[in-house]
Symmetry: C2
Subunit: 782 residues, 2 copies
């Protein structure tokens, strides 16, 4: 890798308007970041140019992929839109509003129902599996043929994992993992292909059942959030591409703006179903993505969350045989806590545990990142992915088996509410503690660690469990299987938290304050905080899951300590994955010290523009020859004697999709009959997957026609002067959810375009103790 400094006076467009042009230079932009402060503020000639490249080092976190496009949150106020508003009037506003509430109701209910189905399936299958295993262990331990239950366990693990992994690898790879990074990107405004399709939901649901039943170190909570998002996107659109059905309802919700609002509600409903945490759900949507928030949306999101947890509660209470008794608000049920007391002097301990969680989490993230890079490099084939998943499933069983075989931690029966007490080598009337931890879902294990009475677990078994599960969880996340990391992380944390309490009991033997459950909870929070680095929503989620509000302060202190410690080393695991995929996520704030980076440096040009009345052939050729998504509509330039090349005075902005629809519907000036049927719905029918230009066939005569773009374009797109600073554009993008921003000169003539990728390129850079603003590479690959 060589360091290239600057390539003056060269302008490469690498924006959404333009898919990255290619070059074979393999740039390493780390060496040059210190000089970024010398960015010229006015001279165009001294502009630094970052050439996009096709060859990217796999595993680089400093790239943006050109293949991701933005959602468009801005309303296109064209004639059909205004016409609809005028014709349908206030009644339509009311109707839309009622429908919106209704859709949020459905989102909450259906998300909860899917969660219930997943939960009940996992419960039923796991119970059978572990009941059989427990019996077989106790049966064959007498005969000394423990390899039989071991092999059985391996088989019980590998078969479901094989099914789940095949589904994910072959049918829908986007359904792998927890789905939280993808949902986060979507909420941030990035279109991730196929992320909210029904097919993804199917694969995800079956995949997560298979993974959890298959004994992988993971949980069903993360996938629930993704499921909620898919449900929301599906219901709100009233159509499905997977089954190619259009139910002709909710057509007015078919645009990026509305859809994204629904998806944020769906994600919140998912969190709510997963953790029984409606407030946490709302805060998750807020913290993780939604940049423009309003009270109405908050309300509806909250509504969906509450409905979701309520529905789940009703269904699961009925399933557990106590229909009236609403005690199952979420999938993750940590059980009722007695109220914890804590003293002032314990707070430093919690901080230290937070720091430990941060360190462990940062290391976990680093290992997992290395593993992900390894996978990107070498495990590319689908069969290899499936093989790896099966291997991990087998190893999970092996580790569990070895632990319960080697560590003979016995406790008298009846003390611990374990379901399948396995005797193994214990004396009669005793059971093997480790077996009871392993012979249940990881979630039930978390519950055991939080609630088991003091002295249930000895230090050795806890320590070895922490070590092995830490590695196992790290290996598991990122497999080609639908599985989340909340549960294994909580489990690891709860285990070492309990270990801390065992240690503290040695120091303070008679202290009533050392409740093992409390320390297990703090450990779990610390580990989770160290890995995912969400703070506010996580605090609330844990508070809501445990049902204990008085414990807020210790949780917050722990989580903040964990986050700060972890952030010192690397990013949260979700962000790491997002960077690895090269998604152009816009962070909350523009990079600091960027006020002297101007639009003229950021924008991409040349720009392809259209005239107000444009020849059809020209449009077709333009769409074929470029991959731009937004075209400024301009008056032809008056003069070319400007400082910059201009492309005429801006009149509006038209999108590729809109042009495609105009061509399909043949709305040409020469075919005035078509103009009668024009309304907003012509653009909605094809949303969100418009045909490509290659699917459109026009005869030669039609190509000589012309089309008037003015009624269909967005007549007042946001524009800024070429002298606007990067933070100014950033805030505009972030606050308004823009997709395109036209850059104009003093006389309102277009000189360039800025898209999300142009802004996402600039990022504060602070590795190795040096600070600067770095420009990321943009690549077609990854």
């Amino acid at each position: 890798m060589e360091v290239i400094d600057t390539i003056p006076e060269e302008d490469i467009s690498n924006t959404e308007q333009n898919v990255a042009s290619s070059s074979n230079d393999n740039l390493n932009d780390i060496g040059r970041c210190q000089e970024d402060k010398t960015f010229s503020s006015s001279s165009f000639a001294r502009r630094r140019v970052q050439i996009s490249t096709d060859k990217v080092e796999i595993g680089s976190l400093n790239i943006l992929s050109a293949k991701f496009e933005s959602l468009d949150y801005d309303t296109c106020e064209n004639y059909p839109f205004l016409d609809e508003e005028r014709k349908k009037g206030y009644k339509f506003v009311i109707q839309k509003s009622i429908s919106r509430w209704f859709v949020f109701l459905l989102i909450g209910m259906i998300t909860a129902l899917i969660a219930s189905i997943i939960d009940i399936s996992i419960e039923e299958l796991s119970q059978r599996k572990y009941a059989v295993l427990s019996q077989y262990v106790d049966k064959y331990v007498v005969e000394g043929m423990l390899y039989i239950p071991f092999l059985l366990w391996v088989i019980f693990n590998v078969i479901p994992v094989f099914i789940g992994s095949c589904l994910v690898s072959y049918a829908e790879p986007i359904a792998g993992g927890s789905g939280i990074p993808q949902v986060k990107c979507y909420l941030n405004g990035v279109k991730i292909p196929r992320v909210v399709r029904i097919k993804t939901l199917f694969v995800k649901s079956i995949g997560v059942i298979c993974s959890v039943v298959g004994g992988l170190a993971g949980g069903k909570e993360g996938p629930m959030i993704h499921s909620g998002a898919v449900v929301a996107a599906g219901i709100s659109q009233g159509k499905t591409s997977t089954f190619d059905r259009d139910f002709k309802v909710f057509r007015y919700f078919r645009d990026d703006h509305e859809k994204r609002d629904f998806v944020s509600g769906g994600a919140a409903a998912g969190v709510s179903a997963a953790f029984g945490a409606p407030v946490g759900g709302v805060l998750f949507s807020l913290e993780e993505g939604t940049s423009f928030w309003n009270q109405g949306l908050t309300w509806r999101t909250f509504f969906a969350s509450v409905i979701s947890t309520f529905t789940l509660n009703v269904v699961l209470s009925a399933y557990h045989g106590v229909p009236g008794n609403l005690n199952y608000p979420g999938l993750l049920n940590l059980g009722k806590f007695e109220s914890f007391n804590y003293s002032f002097y314990e707070l430093p301990i919690f901080v230290l545990m937070g720091v430990a969680g941060g360190l462990l989490g940062a290391f976990w993230n680093h290992m997992n990142y290395k593993l992900a890079v390894f996978r990107m490099r070498y495990i590319k084939k689908c069969w290899l992915k499936v093989l790896e998943a099966c291997l991990v499933a087998a190893i999970s069983a092996t580790i569990g088996f070895l632990m319960m075989f080697l560590i003979n931690d016995c406790k008298p029966l009846g003390q611990d509410p374990t379901k399948y007490p396995t005797q193994l080598y214990c004396e009669d009337g005793q059971y093997n503690v480790l077996a009871s931890i392993w012979f249940q879902t990881p979630e039930a294990s978390v519950r055991s660690l939080l609630h088991d009475p003091p002295n249930t677990h000895n230090a050795l078994s806890l320590a070895s469990f922490v070590l092995l599960y830490y590695i196992l969880a790290c290996w598991t996340y990122g497999l080609s299987a639908s599985i989340g990391l909340f549960i294994p992380t909580l489990l690891t944390g709860a285990a070492w938290g309990r270990l801390v309490s065992v240690g503290l009991t040695q120091v303070l033997p008679n202290s009533a304050i050392v409740q093992p459950g409390k320390y297990a909870l703090i450990g779990a929070a610390a580990q989770l905080g160290g890995v995912v680095r969400m703070t506010i929503s996580l605090t609330v989620i844990i508070m809501e899951t445990t049902g204990d509000i008085s414990f807020a302060l210790p949780l917050i202190i722990t989580l903040v300590a964990a986050k700060w410690t972890g952030d010192f080393f690397n990013e949260g695991i979700y962000d790491t994955y997002i960077e690895l995929t090269g998604v152009p996520l816009l962070s909350w704030d523009p990079p600091p010290l960027a006020h002297n980076i101007y639009a003229s440096e950021v924008m991409s040009h040349p720009v392809v523009t259209l005239k107000c009345v444009e020849n059809v052939r020209h449009i077709v050729e333009l769409l074929r020859s470029t991959s731009y998504n937004g075209f400024p509509v301009v008056d032809p330039p008056i003069t070319d004697q400007k400082e910059f090349t201009t492309y005429g005075r801006i009149r509006g902005l038209i999108l590729r999709d809109q042009l495609i629809v105009l061509l399909i519907k043949k709305i040409f000036n020469e075919t005035p009959d078509c103009w009668d049927e024009i309304d907003s719905n012509i653009f909605r029918d094809h949303y969100p997957r418009y045909p490509t230009i290659n699917d459109i066939f026009l005869n030669e005569k039609e190509k000589t026609y012309s089309v008037d773009l003015r009624p269909f374009m967005n007549p007042s797109p946001y524009t800024v002067l070429h002298s606007a600073s990067l933070p100014r554009m950033f805030r505009l993008f972030r606050a308004l959810g823009l997709r395109h921003l036209a850059i104009v000169n003093d006389t309102n003539e277009v000189v360039g375009m800025v898209t999300r990728k142009d802004l996402a390129r600039y990022r504060v850079w602070r590795h190795q103790g040096r600070i600067g603003v770095e420009e990321l590479l943009i690549s077609k690959e990854i």
Copy 2:
């Protein structure tokens, strides 16, 4: 009042750039709203004009006051700013960031300390007062001279209320009431004069102690939120105008943008201290005001909230003699609840109670609104205000006395943890229940109603209490005294909620599910929801205050039902007061059906512009003769042959305050020496109260000098085309916190200015079953 239809082709500027011009027509704009749909979309001639007026009907909710100005959330990227960024570099960013966290820490701590002082003072004084009263009642009841304790009670009430009311009426009227409407406006971006001054804080703190000790039907919780906001504003600026001290710290936080962030943290810390609800505090800041939110700010706000509740907890626990035991997270302490159970069939009951709360709340708001109008009309003199407050204080005592005198509700001693059991006419070994409700702070009464065992209260005493307290609370809110309405509203609601449980016990005599405390809580929530109409934050606040998460769903259902019912009739009480004051609050969403209202109709013109290099005399005269706050800096117009009058091509925007500073510092082209000392601090020294133009004296020679505005103006203000729609401008304002928006024509020449008031004028209008977009009046008065 007569209906005037349209006044064609007349343009009146009534914006922040221009204080309302006056006219004596007294317009009633209700009759014309149905025609608003016919708003011309392009023809300027047909534009409807709303003439601003000086004579406003008192009590109108359809006016905007011209006296309120906007906060400016947009960063002015002028040369001193860029220079500072370049010179100080990343170190400065880090330093600012650390200072910011430190300030939030201080905000949390000091807010909590003030809350503690208020709480302890009230506690101590009230205890003495009620102990004496209880003794005297029991002493004189035997002698038949009950008028002595009655008069004593009246005196005990009137004296503190007199002090508090005098302070508020004469010293600082803005300290009256709960302060929540004012904080809400500030967070929305409106500068409310004197709202965050130290003096206000003093008056508020002493005032609230006086009011609560004086037995007014109110609480200290609302004022705490205001106090938190003042603390935040005070600390973050490192200076105080009240004491005229500048501590020379945190100078870089002296702009509207930073200050407002701190205030949102302070408000959250206030909520957190008041209710022990850190999450509720964050959500309050979010729900009630902050339109642009980012993760960093959320974080810091959360931090301040947690610190606040923690500090309060430590102090109050020490005060109550249990220093280690952190059980006092907030001022409002509803006590520990046993977990409530609820059944499916109770949900409809909760909904009905919510509806009842909504109805009662709406009626309460209506009555209070009428009362406020009455006060605006007739109780204008300060001594009248004080007199009214004292009268209410005396009547509060009288009502209490009459109730305990007339309703002989006796219960055996020891059943209820009342502090001063008053026997009155009860038999020995019994106490008067109503006396125990009245002889304590309203807050303690709420606690009694929530926790007293079943059958403590009989239906008659509850019913009469509800009726009288409902009226009393309504009369109290809006008095010239610092007092909040959370507690009396909760108290009224808890009382009728308990009444419901008494009724239900009659219907279902043997049901274990009818827990009076549960119904009292639901009633309290319903009543509060019906009055204030906050939902999300209120749910969380109540959840956190009661410490019971499992009860979230019933609370949400109740609150939503209450809000919807209430919203059908009128607005929440805070919003009513805001509208009554004519504050140009921007709602969350632009009015519907407003896409065909264009910038050219909304903007105000003529516009006063400045040249890039301007004569000093001209600037002085301009500042003297106008009251504009923002001036576009333009190149002189090239031609006047345009469709609209233009004022030249826009170069930037300069604020009145900046011009004033330039004049004070005499930064003229002819005095090049001054240019050396220019940095961002010259603008910060005077923030937020700049001298007026009349305070500046320049000699004749200086007036012939010229000043170059270009280094100081904002070089790239946001602009939109005259064809931009109202919702587009609205979103820009709301999302970016703008104060001025320049409207330009096709060639970037200024044609008008839009400010907050221009946008706030347009509001959806839906009284009396008709719908439209109404334009509010703008008035200098109110």
